[in-house]
């Protein structure tokens, strides 16, 4: 037998109490982003790999990382996609506006990729290797949304 009404678990206007720590490395990253529009990465003392997002441990070497390096703010598109199918954003409960550019940005000086929006105003410019720069939010609060998106500058 098919159940005709979905069971929806909700709590009226109450908000789910998720409260995530960003850690010491995340705190420095978001403080620098908010106050100085700088991107801070961390370098492994052993393999010299520069990680963004910054984190406490290099997984490959399993050593603690404390050496901060500034990367970007420009970089290139490491890889990307353009999302074209509509889906519900579990973060907001609303449909995500599509199409949008999903960029994996390789900041100048970094070895890992940083995920953010890429402007799709001109899709023909979005290519792996294209140079990009961030567009910052005017009202920065120390979150990933302090960057509005990246745009191709070639």
């Amino acid at each position: 037998m098919t159940q005709t009404e979905n069971i929806i678990i909700e709590s009226g206007d109450a908000v789910q109490p998720f409260s995530y720590s960003v850690g010491m490395h995340g705190s420095k990253f978001f403080t620098e982003l908010r106050d100085n529009r700088r991107f801070m990465a961390v370098k492994c003392p052993k393999c010299k790999k520069v990680y963004i997002p910054p984190r406490g441990v290099c997984g490959e070497c399993f050593v603690e990382m404390k050496d901060w390096v500034e990367v970007g703010p420009q970089g290139v598109i490491g890889t990307f996609t353009i999302l074209r199918f509509a889906f519900i954003d579990p973060e907001t409960g609303a449909q995500k506006p599509v199409p949008y550019g999903y960029g994996f940005i390789k900041f100048d000086g970094a070895d890992t990729l940083f995920q953010h929006y890429i402007s799709v105003e001109d899709e023909t410019k979005i290519k792996i290797g294209a140079r990009v720069e961030p567009v910052f939010s005017k009202d920065r609060k120390g979150t990933i949304r302090d960057i509005e998106y990246f745009k191709v500058i070639d």
Binding site: T81, I82, R84, Y100, F104, L113, I144
Partner: protein, 385 residues
């Protein structure tokens, strides 16, 4: 390893997009009964159970507890393993460890999912970091699209090369009565289907399914008494590689490369392309069928499109891939990896009916998770030394 281990029976449901006629426990029971019948065993013969799925898909945790009537685990040792997309392969590896340890002679392994019961993309998103990953993430397809895009740029492959893989798997599914999607498609149909996330079209990707799979493993002390021609497990490997989605080497599947190298070394395989007879790859989208067989060392980097266009991986070719139709035809996520394992075992045991590849000595099965995880099993006809 204290004991050699063999698969002596498998069972699976007839997978569908929606099974409102059964609840989770009843779905699991269908697969368990089929596996017991296949091995000609009774539930009382089973010493322990390993079960798994991806909890978030149904929003019900602790399947190890609430499914006991259907799984047969009432008053028996049971453990749940869950590793995302790789779950189905991980439960098999967990069962292999339990039997191999010498502590249990006959272990029942179950993977299942009722994807119809919730929002797949929303559930997958909960597997990713809330601070760094979720802003732009759009479920499994977004990461896969980024991989395909990087592969195309690095090796000059095309959307058409991907489509060829989808055409193959959907054709193979016609031979499998358990497959959910059994409809042949043409290259042009794949390329004309809606673009979901560049370069992935709708017909390049897997569906979401309701289904379950069960596998029975036995130690060398009892395996050949249960099944005269069991499927021997030669080796397993498992690899995870990163913390955040931007850490991966897009265009290559590092976990597949490292895991399969371990597998070939353990089993003494020098040329996987020549020594393997069939592959059941956890390949949720077409481009994975290109990229990942290069990481396995079947062909060199950038060589997969040519190899596949030449028909080598079709039924009747040098090394058939996904005779079952693979994940593109059927994807009950927590069962998907175990279905690969069961299908590979059936190939070795000569029980694959209309999708049988002749004379299988070595078969490979794998699991994959959207976080670039891979685990894998090497199956063989001969008892390992």
């Amino acid at each position: 390893m204290a004991k050699r281990v063999a698969i002596v029976g498998t069972g699976q449901t007839f997978h569908k997009s929606h099974r409102p006629d059964v609840n989770g426990q009843e779905l699991i029971n269908e697969a368990v009964r089929r596996a017991l019948a296949d091995a000609d065993l009774k539930m009382k013969d089973i010493d322990a159970i390993v079960i798994g799925n991806m909890d978030h898909f149904e929003g019900i945790n602790y399947v190890d507890c609430w499914s006991v009537d259907g799984s047969g685990a009432t008053m028996k040792p049971i453990i749940k393993l869950t590793t995302g997309g790789t779950t189905g392969c991980t439960v098999a590896i967990g069962g292999y460890h339990l039997v191999g340890s010498g502590m249990f002679d006959r272990v029942l392994i179950i993977g299942w999912e009722k994807n119809s019961e919730s929002d797949t993309t929303g559930a997958i998103t909960t597997a990713f970091d809330p601070v760094w990953d979720r802003l732009v993430f759009a479920g499994a397809i977004s990461g896969l699209a980024a991989e395909a895009q990087a592969y195309i740029a690095r090796y000059g492959a095309s959307e058409r090369d991907g489509a060829r893989v989808s055409v193959r798997d959907r054709k193979h599914a016609m031979n499998n009565p358990h497959a959910q999607l059994r409809k042949e498609v043409t290259l042009d149909e794949v390329l004309a289907s809606p673009m979901l996330a560049d370069p992935i079209h709708l017909l390049d990707v897997c569906p979401r399914s309701d289904g379950a799979c069960a596998v029975i493993m036995a130690s060398e002390d009892v395996a050949e008494k249960i099944c005269p021609k069991p499927d021997w497990i030669w080796a397993t490997a498992s690899r995870h590689s990163y913390s955040y989605l931007g850490d991966a080497d897009y265009g290559r599947l590092t976990s597949m490369r490292e895991g399969s190298q371990e597998l070939w070394k353990k089993a003494g395989i020098k040329e996987p392309r020549k020594e393997l007879d069939v592959i059941e790859l956890y390949q949720p989208y077409s481009f994975g069928g290109l990229i990942w067989i290069e990481d396995m060392g079947i062909v060199g980097p950038g060589e997969a499109p040519r190899y596949i266009w030449d028909g080598n991986t079709d039924m009747g070719g040098e090394l058939p891939i996904n005779p079952s139709g693979g994940v593109i035809a059927t994807n009950p996520i927590g069962a998907t990896g175990l279905i690969r394992c069961a299908e590979a075992a059936m190939q070795v045991m000569g029980k694959a009916e209309g999708r049988q590849v002749p004379d299988v000595n070595f078969a490979f099965s794998s699991g994959f998770g959207g976080c670039w995880w891979t685990d894998m099993i090497l199956h063989g006809k001969k008892k390992p030394k």
